[in-house]
Point group: C2
Chain length 191, copies 2
């Protein structure tokens, strides 16, 4: 029941669904309990689902040819995550998603999301605005990568994820910022 109320509250911030519509929608989500370190999406996988985080924290990342990890996104409670490029274009995953901590998720298939969007106009409205916000966040991160120094990007990251240091080990924060652990320690100590 708790997962239902978390999703319901999340949707209600954007869209107006009747109780009946919400229950119909909710029936399309599948609960997943995952352990720290478990993979949700692996590079090369067929990607058919997106994931709503109920508890815990995930990361979307890739490892480059020099075995360096780049983190695209941390996914905290009430965030959505997937390899959206692969999901939307029905191609193979080019990134990985795994659990930084034990996590409870709700998964929704691509086909069910499209069906729900067709059937309930307010669901389509919800997903449009969810992606609008994601688009703006991705552009903001891009601008920040182009222009800001590591210190500014670190401050922005803490603004976006205030519970970051409780949830995410330091080496992953460094991988998100694209700096070494030594640089991160320096930023951390000068706050």
């Amino acid at each position: 029941m708790q997962s239902q109320s978390i999703l319901k509250e999340h949707l209600a911030k954007t869209a107006s669904l009747t109780q009946e519509e919400f229950e119909y929608l909710f029936a399309h989500f599948k609960p997943l309990s995952l352990k720290k370190g478990q993979m949700v999406i692996r590079e090369g996988d067929k990607v058919d689902h997106e994931y709503f985080v109920l508890s815990g924290c995930l990361k979307a990342f890739f490892i480059n040819d020099e075995v360096k990890m780049h983190i695209l996104q941390f996914a905290m409670p009430t965030w959505w995550t997937s390899d959206y490029h692969a999901l939307y274009s029905q191609t193979r995953a080019t990134i990985n998603v795994d659990c930084i901590s034990d996590a409870e998720l709700l998964s929704l298939s691509n086909a069910d999301r499209e069906k729900l969007c067709r059937e309930i106009h307010q669901v389509e409205y919800f997903f449009r605005w969810r992606t609008n916000k994601g688009y703006v966040a991705a552009q903001k991160r891009l601008l920040s990568f182009m222009n800001d120094d590591a210190k500014t990007r670190y401050e922005e990251l803490l603004q976006m994820y205030p519970q970051l240091h409780q949830l995410v080990p330091k080496h992953l924060i460094a991988a998100y910022l694209g700096v070494s652990r030594e640089t991160l320690s320096r930023l951390y100590s000068t706050r």
Copy 2:
């Protein structure tokens, strides 16, 4: 009439609108003829519109404290552009948009887009998928900024905008890639 058919064809790639629905929608767009160098959005402006490019080419950019220009997006025919952060959150512009060449645009207000999305479910579907694609493109550019060298980013840019060299002067291509003009000349000559 030509602008109507360009927009109609663009929408038809994603959504199914009746002729009557399309004409109703089209009546909400306003044509704009702009000259090379004219500003569409200026940092600090209130942003109430987004723009569909019929012809010509625009750039979305900002100038940092060291007077260095960063280019977020080139907008070619059938692309949409605005300061989406400002538009969606109804805050002041943090970027600029101007014309690289003479350009014909169709503008749509924020209020009209929301009204049309409410009134016609397929319009909401269209805008959801437009943003989905924009989101994936922004994430791809971010990954590329994190990981790829200038040469790879240059090749990706040419794939995305095959007519780039006809439409955009070299110093703007360099500003998009975040490299000097000398580096760009080297990339250009080694293709």
